[in-house]
Amino acid sequence: MATNAHAEGEGRQPIVAHHFNNIRQQQASVRFGMWVFLVTEVLFFGGVLCAYAACRIWYPKEFEAGSTALNPFIASINTFLLLSSSFTITLAIRAAYKGQRDGLRLWLASTIVLGTVFLGFKAKEYYGDYEEGLIPGPQKTLVDDVDATGKPVLREVSVFAVNLKHVLEHKNAKAKAISDKMTWNERDRTQMFFVFYYSITGLHVIHMIVGLGLLVWQLILAQIGFFEPTERHVYIEVMSLYWHFVDLVWIFLFPLLYMAGHHSMDGAF
């Protein structure tokens, strides 16, 4: 059993764990394990996107209005941030493979920074939505409306619907046009879009946080020289698979959530 693959790394734990026969088997297992895990992640997001699709088939207008009320600029910036972080983590793998300790730390750190800035923007976006009152919920209020015969009546609608109307009317001309065509029932049902918006982006954020935690852990490991035996670059590699997957999810969320409505550059800056 004593092959050279069992050489001790830095006097710490052996590079090849006790139950593997050689380093190639271990690397292949680790890599394959992450791919299998990503399959479950695909199905996890697939489930909620399937629900999203079903609801959007029923309520295309509501989804369009809901998406129009979102902030597309922050989302666009975030897309580029995530793509850049995917790029930097790829460079980190290469650095680990080549045994470049400083390069590895640099690229891991930049990935962490880019991810954190993403989360910062995300928090700003959530806060903006919160300030605009775009939070679905059972709270009701009364508004002036007209019934079928044109007689003015008081109508009970959700607070969300009122806020949505307000947001759309003050956003830009296109948004106002969409809002004007909506009935109060449709405004109420736009909550459904926001349930999807918060739950999907929320899950994405949770995945980001987990990923950032792991990246910080790897940065610490890089600092103490865990990755000196370059065989261990495979751990950076599987981490990057996960990180790329988070990016992949965002690539699909961007058109489905943010770009499903009508946006214009008016009032962008």
Binding site: V39, L43, G47, A51, Q191, V195, S199
Partner: protein, 578 residues
């Protein structure tokens, strides 16, 4: 070493030789090894921090047994209540909580984890000649996650209960139920995560950890079945997790995705739910089918009939099982044309299942059958599973399902496959592998008696339910018309007998630990790699990396493990195939 086996009979004619042969005993004559996985370290921490797949298997066994008892008690309450048309012992809401507790505990905390958790963890690495799972720490983490989820579940059921049925259908579960839906949902989510991790581990292990020579065509069929199960686990479970997440969101925030009064669609939940939960019944039954392959070949002293067919039928069930979930929703408002598609696709599942049953039956043919307890359970499995499977066809056909939907016919069908199938397979597996896991042999008489009692009790419980269901007795109702009372009393009587049957192993198996004789390395003279280790196995399973040169069920070979000994026997008797 070689002198201790029965002399190898060399066939003199061209007849196939099915004479029972002993595989070479490894340390049979010396008794159990001095240091094995149970006694190489002691203390609570050595168990709670272990990464040894065998110890983790035992860690699963103990809580699973307790949960089975809990689920059984809930079932007993339901059955007792049903001996009178207007309820014998329970209030209405207590009745709802009792059948929900029975369903949720049995499914999420027993049937799904039982064989993957115990036998899968314990034997998959041994069967493929590995020292451990591919990710031992993940394996332990999976157990902790599962225990955490189970605690949420048990807490939800103990403090306030749950009355939605195990299916959690909204809008009842999201809006109207006043019980602990959130906590139970969290339990489902977390135990599901554990199920995913176990499946991931087994898939990676089977792909990457096989010993030299262990090709896919030489994998024991239990491993094939576990592999197929794991594929379902990793593909289906995340969707359930998502469904439960959305349900919890809806319930907590009062928003609507599933609530029709807010524009949502209850069927959407059912789609996501059954995308998992229909394949989940194959998560439950496939490992059982895997165990049956091992037991039936051993006690027939024969190679399995049609190895490839059985192996691929496991994969077939796993794949086709994903195409049929809509047959749970024929009467829920699903599109009629989609219902027809699902009905036709449902028929497809019958094919791989029948392939298995026919191949098992053919394996019996010409075998030297002995009736030890595992074999009795296996025969029970084949009979009961066939009945359960065939009655499933009635339910899969759109027309007859309209009559039988949500009646006791469904209950009887499901319990024939899950209790008659999976529970018997689990008992078969437990009895088959108990000597290997503990090194001790249990009472032959009591174990056989338990098998017979379980079979009698089971049949008496669920055969009347077919009749009652066919005559229209709906499921889940606490009250029923008086003319069904006889059926219900029969059923309850059968449940009582069954209960005694399940208690018996709980007594004689633990007693065997103290009073049983040493089992020896290979008490059943089986041929798998796992039997070539001492009982109980040592810490790393194999002293040397095994080299595999034969298929798993070569009972007709005079001696299979010739490579290391150096004296190869000539084989003229063929390989058990026809």
């Amino acid at each position: 070493m070689a002198t201790t086996h029965a002399p190898a009979t060399t066939p003199t004619t061209l007849e196939l030789d099915y004479t029972p042969q002993t595989a070479p005993p490894v340390v049979d004559v010396d008794g159990p090894p001095k240091v094995h996985y149970l006694n190489h370290s002691f203390g609570w921490l050595s168990w709670l921090l272990t990464v040894d797949h065998k110890r983790i298997g035992i860690l699963y066994l103990i809580p699973l047994t307790i949960f089975f008892m809990c689920g059984g008690i809930a079932a007993g309450l339901v059955r007792l209540n049903l001996i009178q048309p207007y309820g014998a012992i329970l209030e209405l809401d207590q009745y709802n909580k009792a059948f929900t507790a029975h369903g949720t505990i049995m499914l999420f905390l027993f049937l799904i984890p039982v064989i993957p958790g115990v036998l899968g963890n314990f034997f998959v690495p041994m069967m493929i000649g590995a020292k451990d799972m591919a990710f031992p720490k993940l394996n332990l983490a999976s157990w902790y996650v599962w225990m955490g989820g189970a605690m949420f579940f048990i807490a939800a059921l103990l403090f306030g209960g749950l009355d939605t049925g195990w299916t959690f259908y909204p809008p009842y579960s999201s809006k109207y139920s006043h019980t602990n839906v959130i906590w139970a949902g969290l339990g489902v989510f977390i135990t599901g995560f554990s199920s995913i991790l176990t499946g991931l581990n087994i898939i990676a292990t089977v792909h990457k950890m096989r010993a030299p020579g262990m090709t896919w065509g030489r994998l024991p069929l239990f491993v094939w079945a576990m592999y197929a199960t794991s594929v379902i686990q990793i593909l289906a479970t995340p969707v359930l997790a998502m469904a439960v997440c959305l349900l919890a969101t809806e319930r907590i925030f009062g928003v609507g995705i599933f609530d029709p009064s807010l524009g949502g669609d209850p069927l959407l939940f059912q789609h996501l739910f059954w995308y998992y939960s229909h394949p989940a019944v194959y998560i439950m039954i496939l490992p059982g089918m895997g165990v049956i392959n091992e037991v039936i070949t051993c006690f027939s002293r024969k190679n399995i009939f049609g190895y490839k067919a059985v192996a691929w039928s496991s994969v077939g069930i796993a794949v086709v099982g994903f195409l049929v979930w809509g047959h749970h929703m024929f009467l829920s408002g699903q599109g009629v044309y989609l219902g027809m598609v699902f009905s036709v696709l449902t028929m497809l599942v019958a094919i791989p299942s029948a392939v298995k049953v026919f191949n098992w039956t053919a394996t019996f043919y010409g075998g030297q059958i002995t009736f030890e307890a595992p074999m009795l359970f296996t025969i029970g499995f084949i009979v009961l599973f066939t009945i359960g499977g065939l009655t499933g066809l009635f339910l899969g056909i759109l027309g007859t399902d309209i009559h039988l939907h949500d009646t006791y016919f469904v209950i009887a069908h499901f319990h024939f496959t899950m209790v008659g199938g999976m529970m018997f397979a689990w008992q078969a597996g437990l009895h088959f592998y108990w000597p290997k896991m503990t090194g001790k042999m249990y009472s032959d008489f009591w174990s056989r008696l338990a098998a017979v009692i379980m079979l009698v009790g089971f049949s008496l419980t669920f055969l009347p339910q077919f009749v009652a269901g066919y005559h229209g007795l709906p499921r889940r109702y606490p009250y029923y018309p008086v003319e069904f009372q006889m059926m219900n009393i029969l059923s309850t009587a059968g449940a009582t007998i069954q209960g005694f049957g399940y208690l018996m192993p709980a007594v004689y198996l633990p007693l065997s630990l103290f009073f049983g004789r040493n089992a020896g390395a290979n008490p059943w003279r089986a041929t798998g790699l796992e039997w070539q280790t001492p009982s109980p196995p040592t810490m790393h399973n194999f002293e040397e990396l095994p080299i595999v040169t034969h298929g798993p069920y070569e009972y007709a070979l005079p001696s299979k493990f010739t490579l290391e000994d150096g004296h190869a026997h000539e084989t003229k008797g063929g390989n058990g195939g026809h």
